[in-house]
Amino acid sequence: MSGLSPVSDGAYDVELRAVTKRFGHLKAVDAVSLKVRKGEFLSLLGPSGCGKTTSLRLVAGFEQPDEGEILIGGTDAVGTPPYRRDVNTVFQQYALFPHMSVLDNVSYGLKQRKVGKSERYARAREALELVRMTGREAQKPTTLSGGQQQRIALARALVMRPRVLLLDEPLGALDLKLRKEMQIELKRIQEQVGITFIYVTHDQGEALSMSDRVAVMANGVIEQIDEPRVIYDRPLTPFVADFIGDMNFLTGEVVEAADGGFAIDAGAGIVVRGRGQAAKGTRMRVGIRPERMVAVAGPPAGTANSAGAEVVTKMYLGDQIQIVAELPGIGSIVVREQRASADPALDSIHPGDRIALSWDESSPLLLGETAPASTAGQQEEQS
């Protein structure tokens, strides 16, 4: 087998090459290719059922791919059972052994490697120190809180010094405050030990704040993989645009295309001008983030990148104000502004009042061509 192993250039800890995994007729993972760099914190982000956990389980070895290759540390891992892979997993439900003490849990993996008792306990204590859980060695895991159990689970995997650490929604069961704490903690630990992390989550805030790169997944494929900033600022597909943050969608024919700029007639007299390559005459979809829009009370200016709308609801989100407004003949649109810089007149508007929306030329994001017939269906699927 080793003679036939595909070679890798060594810069990647994990490589997926056109990996497909089917459950019955469903393609959970559909020809996914992915390269995870050494020491990288990579997140697999997506809604439930998008294939992110299956991808992780394929790397861990709990599932075997139907097609494609999986390379771990440059050697083919397909067919290798989980207990012979140089990766370790932190499970969502912790999966600590309830019949063993904390110390025995953490040293379990070393015991399987036939490490002597005194050495494995010493290394387990080190790992517990790393996750700041000293003093609980003799306790049973069930006597600890969720956050503490998750730290033990992390220590149990880290003590193995794996090439790659796989984390399957490890903070999913924790409450918000604890989750924020653990995010910072995880990032600190990852930087300290320098192990490659593959982190599965459906929480975009978590993925964007912790990762070096984020792979957004939907329906078994990776829609976009890039740094968090790029994922947010330059989403490549309507799915990514919609899934990451909030997005207002407008669709129309390109009426002008020149000098890296475009103009789209979105209907109802609204012309969207933006930057990017678009062919004249095609139907394109653009997205504008709610926080990139400015609302003022009163009628619209009637120029490009402005629109008149009718207020549906107004909401205060602490430091921000959010207005949902109806664009006649197009649909609803969300605007979010910092209250410190928003038009003071917005405080006195009510549902039914007319407001003017505007945005600058850098705000509209080109999200690809749409066939007029399929627009409605696609829109529904995303919502």
Binding site: A60, G61, F62, P81, P82, Y83, R84, V87, N88, T89, F91, Q93, A95, L96, F97, P98, H99, Y108, G109, Q112, R113, K140, T142, R156, A157, M160
Partner: protein, 303 residues
């Protein structure tokens, strides 16, 4: 409001006392009557060295209290049929418990991970052994064992082994259901975690699966032992010339029971209670929190 809640609490306490009294008073009465003398009327015509040497047929009414004696314990322990029968029953029950639990464990592990469609016939067989009346199984077993001895060379004659085989069929089904319930409830995430940490299938079974199943395994073994020990119907058909404790007791009823039976039952109760208490103390000491419910269940079922 508070007064009402207090009154409700007292009512529940009283109810609990009544229920436990109903459950345990008969056992207490049995133990007390192990020390009962034969009636004065019966003793009038009897001139033995010990009042407990009185023939069972003459003993008269022993359900009324006639006075204290401890000689029934000695009488019971020296009875020519009682002790050998108890030993036989204990032997059969112990072996049946071990075999049934091992078979049940194997079946539980195999069936739990099987596809439902393949599992269905096995499940049907298991439930069949539980729902078919024991008398039917007993008659069928008798015919089978007799025929098997005619056709299979070396097949054991009616006796301990045939009683054992018949009971294992039933007990293995019960054991399988108990162990499988826990096995399915455990899920496989802990086993995955063990694999993930470098432990192979054998190591994972020994270090994770088996310890986690232990409460269910102990429950299954205790239940099998109990079912086997006090089983009458099946041994009555398949015993040949072997006498088990229940068979001896039932035949004793015909000639008149003596408090010696109570005495032996009291000894067994004392032994069982001691064993249960020792086990409970040991379990608490090893702080095995998980699955203590199963063990408690098994303890309740004990005679």
């Amino acid at each position: 409001m508070r007064k009402r809640r207090l009154r409700a609490k007292h009512a529940f306490t009283a109810w609990a006392v009544v229920v436990y009294g109903f459950l345990f008073l008969p056992i207490l009465v049995m133990a007390v009557f192990a020390f009962n003398k034969p009636s004065p009327a019966a003793l009038a015509g009897f001139h033995g060295s010990s009042v407990c040497a009185i023939p069972p047929a003459q003993i008269g009414n022993i359900t009324v209290w006639n006075g204290f004696t401890s000689c029934w314990f000695s009488a019971g322990l020296h009875d020519p049929t009682y002790i050998p029968a108890i030993v036989t029953s204990l032997q059969i029950a112990a072996v049946a418990a071990v075999i049934s639990t091992v078979l049940g464990l194997c079946a539980a592990l195999a069936l739990a991970r099987m596809k439902p469609r393949l599992r269905a016939p096995f499940d049907a067989l298991v439930y069949l052994t539980l729902v078919v009346p024991e008398i039917v199984i007993a008659v069928a077993s008798l015919i089978f064992f007799v025929q098997a001895r005619n056709y299979i060379h070396g097949f054991p004659g009616l006796g301990k082994v045939t009683i054992l085989i018949g009971q294992v069929v039933f007990n293995a089904s019960v054991s399988m259901l108990i162990i499988r319930a826990r096995f399915v409830g455990m899920g496989d995430v802990l086993e995955e975690a063990s694999f993930d940490l470098g432990s192979g299938p054998v190591g994972t079974f020994r270090q994770v699966t088996l310890p986690r199943l232990m409460p269910a395994i102990v429950s299954a073994a205790l239940l099998s032992f109990t079912f086997s020990f006090d089983d009458y119907v099946l041994p009555a058909f398949t015993n040949g010339t072997t006498n088990t404790w229940p068979i001896v007791l039932y035949s004793a009823v015909r000639f008149g029971l003596t408090p010696a039976v109570n005495a032996l039952a009291t000894i067994m109760l004392a032994v069982t209670l001691t064993a249960v208490i020792v086990t409970a103390v040991m379990l608490r000491r090893s702080r095995t929190r998980t699955g203590s419910g199963d063990a408690a269940l098994a303890v309740q079922v004990l005679p």
